[in-house]
Symmetry: C2
Subunit: 357 residues, 2 copies
């Protein structure tokens, strides 16, 4: 039975569409975003932070905001993430703020600083001590928003083939240690080099380098350094390395308010969660390393070495802030907050742990 | 020009409605929930965790899931939260699992245990070490879901009017210290009492009690204990007190999948965030206390006292698990995880802090 003409059917269809558009089509619009990471597709837990974030966003938005995560092997520009997000080729990025030091020195201190805060201290600074406001200020000229993107916890000071007993033992050593920490080590007389990750093991084995810094047991175990460099020095240079999400501001501003809230919540949660994930990975990997290679020795640098590092750190910080008022503002804010919060860390976790190791 | 009959118009309308109902009417249904807390309306940061959670949920769901947070002064049953959520008068609760020890001993260990894990260690156990699965198992007979609800970090061991130099100094002291920690202190010869929060200051001032345990500087400062009891002992009994969200399972199962994801994400984030909020509150309050009352002395209990506490703790744990296989399973899981994870805490944060206090 043919009840309607073709015209009627078309009209019915258009009225249906009109009804949907006021009530729900706007709400049902699907946003398809892309996120570029600095990491390879198997670099856990770094790659997990944006991946889990995107999964949470998809579920919470009922598929209205879909974020495709591209690992570095896809876009081929691990250190082009900042530019690609700024230019809009990618709506989002996941990387580390200190990589952009060469482009804008103000972006350096939002990852970690030598002799700086631990992970809970630094999160407290970001969220309750003015850190987020300073990060917003630093990223505003780049037309980007930046959010904490996952913490490694304290990184280890590195694998050494020989024991470091005095400051002289460091002089002339060849070490792979990038960034600001590398500048400190250079001041102490080391020859600091950068070597591609894939060549690190062979370089250490053949003596092209004498030492190297990577992350911590959870990420070091697959690199195999513990098989050839038995001295594992505790950390000083990256006490709480926080990765960062970058969001193109124009893209963000186009999202409805509920999707903005979903995105911000998912980023914040995946950041905290990567800290906890890496805590577990480090504990588990260290248990295995120690069992398989009982000769690994965990050492702290002797006091004169540590003092020399601290002195070099202070000198470099002073030089660095000249002509950079925002950088100075951020470093001063971190320093003041650390002084306050460290007192609490000492009387809470530190003194508790001291009697319970 | 009349193009359609009345029948056609009605049909158009019903097709529009049909279109809306499949595509969006179900999605637009508003769920109105209530959450009962154990806390008063100004007990920060405890009350902030469910409040922020509800705000996040409202924003992310675009108003489709509204959770009204009732403080204890509203429902008048601070320790009735478990029953009210189980009975369905409230869809959700926010409290601490160890309060339900008398109803179900298996629920005790999901808050904190004496000489147990620190906050990041315990989060790692919950999310990566099997803790969430065990908590689900323990709450299943109560037809509830339970989720971490905010951590205080390490709590302080309490305010004492006199210094504790030997085990004998503790004997006969009257102390307010509730729960399992109170049982340990009783084994050491203290007279353990419980006193309503509003009467604690006067009791301490008049000598009705000699010591009391509360939380840490952030929450202690408004109680004023530091004005009359200058010895502030570091903690051992609650190294990472995690509050809990409770969710009635029937109510949860009725939510659409996207609202379930929104709820779970918001709870998890507000839990981590309360840990960081209290970290900041403690640091800030301690700075002020120390400035206003420079005579406050931070002390750790002497080793013989600490050893006696540890011994009493072990004895009580052994007695407690008899006839309670699930409790034993949880305690064994925590103990094994702590042994593994503490090694990592030691070589990362602990050894870093040791040289940077």
């Amino acid at each position: 039975m043919k009840m309607f003409s073709k015209t009627t059917k078309l009209l019915v269809a258009s009225v249906v569409l009109a009804g949907l558009s006021t009530a729900s089509l706007a709400a049902d619009k699907v946003y398809k975003w892309k996120l570029a990471t600095t990491w390879g597709p198997t670099l856990h837990p770094f790659i997990d932070a944006p991946t889990k974030m995107a999964e949470m966003v998809e579920k919470m938005s009922n598929g209205r905001l879909l974020i495709r995560v591209d690992a570095a092997n896809k876009h081929k520009a691990p250190f082009g993430v900042l530019d690609m997000v700024q230019g809009g080729q990618y709506e989002m990025g996941h990387s580390a703020s200190y990589y952009w030091k060469g482009k804008d020195i103000n972006l350096l201190p939002f990852t970690t600083m030598p002799f700086g805060m631990t992970a809970p201290e630094q999160y407290a600074w970001f969220y309750y001590g003015g850190g987020m406001e300073l990060m917003e200020k630093a990223y505003a000229p780049h037309k980007m928003l930046s959010f904490p993107g996952g913490n490694t916890g304290a990184q280890m000071g590195g694998w050494f083939r020989k024991e470091i007993k005095t400051l002289d033992d460091l002089k002339g050593l060849k070490m792979r240690i990038p960034g600001f920490a590398g500048e400190i080590m250079a001041k102490l007389g080391l020859t600091v080099t950068n070597i591609a990750p894939g060549e690190l093991y062979t370089s250490l084995e053949r003596g092209t380098i004498d030492a190297l810094e990577w992350v911590g047991p959870g990420m070091d175990i697959n690199m195999g350094f513990h098989k050839i460099a038995p001295y594992y020095y505790t950390g000083w240079h990256e006490p709480a390395t926080e990765l960062q999400f970058l969001v193109n501001k124009r893209a963000y501003d186009k999202l409805p308010k509920d999707l903005q809230a979903i995105l911000v919540t998912a980023m914040k949660l995946s950041s905290y969660d990567m800290y906890i994930q890496n805590y577990d990975m480090s504990a588990t990997a260290w248990e295995k390393m120690k069992k398989d290679y009982p000769n690994i020795k965990v050492e702290t640098f002797p006091k004169p070495v540590m003092d020399a590092m601290k002195k070099a750190n202070q000198e470099l910080r002073k030089e660095m802030v000249v002509g950079h008022p925002l950088l100075k503002e951020v470093l001063d804010s971190q320093e003041a907050y650390q002084k306050k919060v460290r007192e609490w860390t000492k009387m809470s976790d530190y003194l508790y742990l001291k009697d319970n190791l």
